[in-house]
């Protein structure tokens, strides 16, 4: 066999972008932003270059868990329209390659984070990768309708890792930042599940809307949103928060709880008549909600550094 025929035998040879897509770059942007804020609001300041490296390694760790998730979930990704074009189910990258890249980048990111900041942050990053790849993807995603809640925990760790990278330990502020994302995830995704007739069913992934019904999902959204509001406002009274955050949190949470209450009050008949407008508005607002909370934390940190607030 010549070189030319061996090349032609393979249907597709991945290019760099295909490997990059394995790392779920869109999820990575959220990881980078929240880890950055978690690090900046911490009372200990890192050298800017060390801080940059820490954020980079946290992002790479998040990407590694994304690659492991794509390796494991290739079968269900192939069934669902939203995910069928991902590198593994579309055949651009082999499953074994995704596994290798995921494992290599996991080890690399954890060791490099430990060397550049501290080993507590590295251990937390390792746990996050394990939690997302093993506890969520392999174990609970396909077996419980609370999968969204569990997956949300993995996404909630980055600000805590950022905080620990700066301070060396977990504290109340970092736990509350974790709680903010953890409790935000379920209402965010369940609102989406209400108006998107998703194809999770074909893939055999249990979703709350299917297993427990839509009225139950509406109740769940309200319950999580009320608890979320309490934790979000609590964060405003800690050293991480400040006046900007507190004002933003009160306003945003009042709006969010109002939206959840409206969703709770509606049934499918009413929702279908206006094409799920309330649910869609709530979902869109939820994206802004998280961004503005962390943005407000950032604003307070900047004002504190500038000496405008105490």
């Amino acid at each position: 066999m010549t070189d030319a025929t061996s090349i032609m035998d393979r249907e597709y040879e991945a290019q760099f972008g295909d490997y990059f897509a394995l790392l779920k770059p869109r999820v990575m942007t959220l990881v980078v932003f929240t880890a950055f804020v978690g690090m900046l609001v911490a009372p200990v300041s890192l050298h800017p270059f060390v801080g940059f490296c820490a954020i980079l390694f946290i992002a790479v760790g998040g990407g590694a868990s994304g690659a492991l998730n794509m390796w494991w979930d290739a079968d269900i990704d192939a069934v669902m329209r939203r995910t069928a074009k991902r590198p593994v189910p579309s055949g651009r990258v082999g499953g074994d390659e995704a596994l290798g890249i995921g494992l290599a980048l996991s080890g690399f990111s954890v060791v490099m984070l430990g060397l550049s900041t501290n080993w507590a942050a590295a251990a937390l990053l390792a746990f996050t990768i394990f939690f997302y790849a093993v506890v969520y993807s392999m174990w609970l995603k396909r077996s419980t309708p609370q999968n969204i809640v569990i997956g949300g925990a993995a996404g909630a760790f980055p600000p805590m890792i950022g905080w620990v990278a700066a301070t060396g330990s977990v504290s109340l502020e970092s736990i509350l930042m974790f709680a903010l994302i953890f409790l935000w995830t379920p209402p965010h995704f369940w609102a989406l599940a209400l108006f998107m007739r998703s194809d999770y069913d074909d893939a055999g992934v249990p979703m709350l809307t299917v297993t427990h019904g839509r009225p139950s999902t509406r109740r769940h959204i309200l319950a999580y949103t009320v608890i979320l509001a309490a934790f979000a406002i609590w964060l405003g009274f800690t050293s991480a928060g400040g006046p900007v955050y507190l004002i933003a949190a009160i306003g945003l949470n009042a709006w969010f709880v109002k939206g959840a209450w409206e969703i709770f009050r509606r049934n499918e008949e009413i929702a279908e008549t206006d094409n799920y407008s309330v649910e869609k508005r709530f979902f869109k607002f939820s994206l802004l909600y998280l961004f503005l909370h962390f943005g407000a934390l950032l604003a307070d940190a900047v004002l504190r550094t500038a000496g405008v607030i105490g």
């Binding site: 090349i7 040879e13 290019q15 760099f16 490997y19 050298h47 060390v50 980079l56």
Partner: protein
């Protein structure tokens, strides 16, 4: 010898260039981290094999 540029070669080139950039970036990061970490060690020259008090802040050299 293959002269025609097949699409597969372009993809392979993109991969090689990408990996090259990643490796160069990694070298820059390790170098930068080393510089920062060494700078944070403080007056390391004061303990270079033998104590050199003249390099330590606040220490008088012996007469």
């Amino acid at each position: 010898m293959i002269r025609a540029e097949h699409e597969i070669h372009q993809r392979r080139r993109s991969r090689n260039i990408g990996l090259g950039i990643v490796l160069v970036g990694f070298i820059a990061i390790v170098f930068g981290l080393t510089v920062v970490k060494v700078q944070q060690l403080g007056a390391v020259q004061g303990f270079d094999h033998v104590v050199r008090p003249e390099l330590l802040p606040g220490e008088e050299a012996p007469n």
